[in-house]
């Protein structure tokens, strides 16, 4: 029973982990990207479109291509969204909140529009896209997982994207804290003027970190559709997971390594109501509030304790214009 709960918590948490790792990288460059929910939708639908077209084109799926095509489509789609955001906020110095929210509207629109329209390309009576074949490949487990009892359930029972999420978070954590590139990136987020004076190419760092961050966040959407939802696209099915990822960024005080644990905790809060006996639907709704309440508590506590290393990047949300003093 406990093993199942943990297993489901990890599966719930993985999209959030992708989203928050991406958002942390972006925020470290001083950009609050509120477009993450939209980017995750676009990542998901790009992957779905790629997989759908590939499934339509051949009778026999090549397992490698069946994973590779959606993956590449997802990365390209979500990076493109990141590029729109960068162009507007970095090059044109637009307001980050407004741009991000517009990006979310746009991205969710794209996701739901194409999610609803792709199905019209084929003559079927099925109400929604179902990519079960591709999904099975995405969900392939390590062969010996189910022979190891609870240990296998907890650690080895997931599709490969779960491990990718954890590895990406660990790599991001390493890059941010232990490398020169990470040091430069953090300095850009803390004080772009100083970074610029030190000869760091601020624009380049902002562009690269936001685009990579968006691509990582997009993978969260892909994981949700292909693995968690068994390859079935349903409009608005992704729900408010995008906003939860932004909450997770605060919860993990801008540390990708902490957000691995945070994502599992959020996933745990998400699935726990189903395991409480005799729970009513309305109480379940109140439970869904918990991740946000916990996040606010963390935000309040970190600001009261006022420790330098637990604060948001100092220039978060501010546009940088070299000639402005």
């Amino acid at each position: 029973m406990l093993a199942t709960i943990i297993q489901r918590a990890v599966m719930q948490g993985t999209p959030l982990l992708f989203g928050s790792t991406g958002e942390i990288l972006t925020e470290k460059s001083g950009h609050l990207n509120l477009g993450i929910p939209g980017i995750m939708y676009v990542g998901a639908i790009s992957g779905v479109a790629g997989a759908f077209l590939y499934e339509q084109s051949t009778a026999m799926l090549n397992p490698f291509l069946a994973v590779f095509i959606p993956l590449i489509c997802c990365l390209i789609g979500s990076m493109f969204m990141g590029l729109i955001y960068c162009f507007l906020t970095v090059t044109l110095r637009a307001n980050q909140n407004v741009t991000g929210l517009a990006l979310t509207t746009f991205g969710i629109g794209i996701g739901n529009f194409f999610g609803g329209s792709l199905i019209k390309l084929v003559d079927t009576d099925v109400p929604s896209i179902s990519l079960s074949t591709t999904s099975v490949i995405f969900k392939t487990q390590i062969p010996f997982a189910n022979k190891m009892g609870w240990f296998g359930d907890v650690f080895f029972s997931y599709g490969f994207l779960v491990y990718v999420a954890i590895i990406v978070a660990l790599i991001s954590s390493y890059v941010l804290n232990k490398t020169r590139v990470g040091l430069h990136l953090r300095s850009v987020g803390e004080s772009p003027e100083t970074a610029d004076a030190a000869g760091i190419n601020v624009t380049k760092y902002k562009y690269v970190s936001t685009c990579i961050g968006s691509a990582i966040a997009g993978l969260g959407g892909l994981y949700y559709v292909m693995d968690y939802a068994n390859g079935v696209w349903s409009n608005n099915g992704f729900g408010d997971r995008g906003w939860l990822s932004i909450a997770l960024v605060i919860f993990s005080v801008w540390r990708p390594s902490l957000s691995i644990l945070g994502s599992i905790l959020f996933g745990f809060l998400y699935v726990i109501p189903t395991y409480i006996p005799n729970i009513t639907v309305s109480t379940k709704i109140l439970f869904e509030m918990l991740p946000y309440v916990v996040t606010i508590l963390v935000l309040v506590i970190t600001s009261i304790r006022d420790k330098k290393e637990n604060q948001p990047p100092a220039s978060l949300g501010l546009a940088y214009f070299r000639e402005e003093r």
């Binding site: 637009a94 407004v98 517009a102 529009f113 605060i250 606010i296 309040v300 600001s303 948001p312």
Partner: protein, 369 residues
């Protein structure tokens, strides 16, 4: 290789062109830039529509206009939606002028609506209408102000990040409202929201939405006066320009933050009141319908000016209504309107750059020297 990439990056920043801040721009020039950007956006949307649907874009735009203002009922609908969006946009404006990023309007509207619905359900049968409606109004205003006051308190006292705080408060409000919607639904637990019969706003001259529109016009005028001609409005501008200056000239910054956010939340509360008592006569978790977020764009696009906000909110609602008509007529997915709105906002956001900055060619300025 490294040299090459650096050269590419430099193109954005300094190589052959040079970007400078404009001191001032004639108002007509800035509006020409904005109009050009909207036209360009419509052209891009036209191409997109053709690519996706093989339809004649002009037909599509005609359908769009018909869908938004084709019949008197649609016009009233358009006006009422504009009024509510305008109300929320006005609400977030004082906070934005202070550079306090209140993106929690969605939640503040919902809590205001929840307060209204609570009054309508529990006091509806006890208190007569003429007393009930003012009571509902006052309680919603207090509820909205309270919801906005929480993040403001932590911002003023501990400097918590207000953008993230208000964002999180939205989802707490949404879940609370979802909980009560379910508790109050008829039959209980079914999820069908209860129709609130007592305390509905009266019709004026046979028009259901007229009272909403009048209230919002009143708020627009008051907000304009408040921001432009009162001492408090001036204090907001000073805090927004520079907190240090404000402190130096003796403005109590904390007090201004708390007061302004309470006002911001209070006006959101009014929007919630109008939505529940005047428009929907019911409460759902999507009663605010994303307006809290759209309002941020509306307010920003209007440069925080209440007068221009009438135009920008009308533009956004017009696009939404028109695009949803397109999707209905041509049997597209209803999310088509979100894509169109998104593209148009991108273009307007982008155009602000050309209003605020000018691009000079470096070579030319050297020749001048």
């Amino acid at each position: 290789m490294n040299k090459l990439t650096n050269a590419v990056w430099n193109c954005f920043g300094k190589a052959s062109i040079h970007i400078a801040k404009r001191d001032d721009i004639a108002w007509w020039k800035s509006w020409i830039i904005r109009v050009i950007s909207v036209v360009m956006a419509l052209i891009v949307c036209g191409f997109l529509t053709v690519a996706l649907t093989d339809l004649n874009p002009i037909d599509v735009y005609v359908t769009m206009i018909k869908g938004a203002v084709g019949t008197p009922r649609l016009v009233w609908n358009l006006l009422q939606n504009t009024a509510i969006l305008l109300c929320v946009s006005l609400a977030v404006t004082p906070a934005f002028k202070m550079r306090f990023w209140n993106i929690g309007a969605e939640g503040q509207v919902l809590i205001g609506g929840l307060a209204t619905a609570t009054c309508m359900i529990f006091l509806g049968e006890v208190v007569p209408g003429p007393v009930l409606i003012p009571m509902m109004f006052v309680i919603s205003v207090i509820a909205g102000a309270f919801w906005a006051f929480i993040p403001a308190f932590f911002k003023a006292r501990f400097n918590s990040n207000e953008t993230l705080f208000t964002l999180m408060m939205n989802y707490i409000a949404i879940q609370i409202v979802a909980y009560f919607t379910l508790e109050w639904s008829v039959p209980k637990g079914s999820g069908t929201p209860r129709t609130l019969e007592f305390g509905q706003l009266p019709m004026l001259f046979g028009q259901k939405y007229l009272i909403n529109i009048i209230v919002v016009i009143l708020i627009t005028v008051l907000m304009y006066i408040y921001l432009k001609y009162t001492k408090q409005g001036y204090e907001i501008s000073v805090v927004g320009e520079s907190e240090n200056t404000a402190r130096y000239i003796g403005i109590n910054v904390k007090k201004v933050i708390l007061r302004t956010m309470a006002i911001s939340g209070a006006v959101c509360g009014i929007a919630g009141f109008l939505l529940v008592a005047g428009t929907d006569h019911s409460l759902k978790s999507d009663t605010a319908g994303g307006r809290g977020f759209t309002a941020i764009m509306v307010s920003w696009l209007a440069k925080f000016h209440p007068g221009f906000m009438v135009l920008t909110s009308l533009l956004i609602v017009f696009l939404e209504k028109g695009a949803s008509k397109i999707s209905e007529v041509y049997r597209l997915n209803s999310s088509f309107s979100d894509i169109i709105t998104g593209i148009i906002i991108f273009f307007i956001i982008g155009s602000e750059f050309f209003i605020n900055y000018k691009i000079k060619s470096n070579r030319k300025s050297k020749e001048e020297n």
